[in-house]
Symmetry: C2
Subunit: 262 residues, 2 copies
């Protein structure tokens, strides 16, 4: 089975021109076929502030009301995505920017309102991925660059967490490819001790559950790691987590945390 | 030779939800393969105002300084393009939104500074079009939706007039297809007399030159018609100009102005 590398990048790197350039150099060196999934960065909040749109958060999760949806379509789908694509093209990487609506590569269901109304947020399953179209794009030697937007097939774009998009993409593409999924963020990996910054080299499911119950793994990491374990359980070959500054070493298995079910 | 229809739409329709919906219904009925090129609409100025970005115009042409470039990347490449794509997907039209950077479908050269510095504006020729990639997308039964942005292959996006994009696309794609190019805007066609609103059914080059020298054809129409004649001279099979409310009738040749060299 052919290999496919999916790299998710998010956090401060999106807003830091030099760090992003250096990450994109490393991404260009990753063997094709590959897919990049990017988050939104702080730039959405900055533009939101200038536009007088107040960010709404519940339990650290962004609530996407109508003005926020417009904002993230502009920033994620426009500014961030297109700048990354243009910068990859400057590196002769034939990137193509995508929301889930483009070529219907990822549809979603608007999250039902229960205790919390998350607004225009899309929940996705592997059945929502346009595997055949994505495979065609990849076979045409294009490198898809996903921003964290999906669509409901009724004309509305929806906000979907980028970690989740990367995980679901991995599971869906695992039908056709041996998928390596790499989550890049600020830290060097999953840390076993916040003070000492010791990176866990291999994180097993049972240890994850233990660290979670002890509170060593904090709130922000939990959805990321849940996505990582879901990817493995869904058929992704390998999942690594580490720093956006060490993409090459992550690929080679020299740095970062390897996520393992058993 | 296979037919390809390229439709350019611009002006107020972009900002008018109902008019846009009705136009997209008609566009969905256009036989494939087809390409949509859209302009920016007033929404860019509205967001510019909210962001404190003052529009700069010289002779009715937008000057694209750095803040304006960010604005148009967000609005043209994000908000307008992705909403059109999502709305076409709701009509089961498999649209894919593109800037010129995506899949390198249209590169450009930053306009040299002469008397006027237009800023981040890209000039294009037919050699800048990724004909092979666009043909692959079309053969994969996708409908490209272009926004008026190109790139310089050095990591920068550039602002390029949507009428020009449509014309250059037509000329480049004429290598592989028998291209019909349709410009849709507010008016019912090219008018022979402003007061009476009489539409010229067939506009020949010599009559255009006469109307231009008489001043009957006004400033805003001149670049559009120059693009139309350039398209025909470059090998486009047919060019029509008319109302976004009559796309079907324009296609059938019942309404609008047919542009003809001789």
């Amino acid at each position: 089975m052919k290999e496919l590398t999916i790299v998710k990048v998010g956090g401060k790197v999106i807003d830091d021109h030099e760090a992003l350039a250096s990450f994109l150099d490393a991404f260009t060196d990753v063997p094709s076929p590959k897919i990049l999934v990017h988050g939104g960065g702080k730039v959405a909040s900055d533009f939101g502030e200038r536009l007088g749109i107040t960010p709404k958060l519940i339990d650290g999760r962004r609530i996407t009301d109508a003005p926020t949806l417009e904002l993230v379509i502009m920033v994620y789908g426009g500014l961030v995505n297109k700048n990354i694509v243009a910068q990859l093209q400057a590196r002769s990487e034939n990137a193509i920017g995508l929301t889930g609506a483009d070529a219907n590569v990822m549809s979603a269901v608007k999250r039902p309102v229960s205790q919390v109304d998350y607004g225009f947020v899309g929940d996705v399953t592997k059945e929502d991925v346009g595997v055949s179209t994505l495979s065609k794009l990849i076979e045409a030697e294009l490198t898809p660059v996903f921003c964290p937007l999906t669509h409901d097939k009724q004309g509305n774009l929806l906000n979907t967490n980028a970690d989740t998009i990367a995980s679901i993409l991995g599971v869906a593409m695992a039908e056709n490819y041996r998928v390596n999924l790499i989550y890049c963020f600020e830290q060097n990996g999953v840390l076993e001790d916040f003070g000492k910054k010791i990176v866990i080299k291999v994180l097993y499911r049972d240890r994850y559950d233990k660290l979670k119950s002890e509170g060593t793994i904090h709130a922000g990491m939990i959805p990321k790691l849940d996505n990582a374990f879901n990817a493995l359980e869904g058929g992704v070959h390998q999942v690594k987590i580490g720093s956006f500054q060490s993409l090459k070493a992550l690929l080679l298995g020299e740095l970062g945390t390897k996520i393992t079910i058993n």
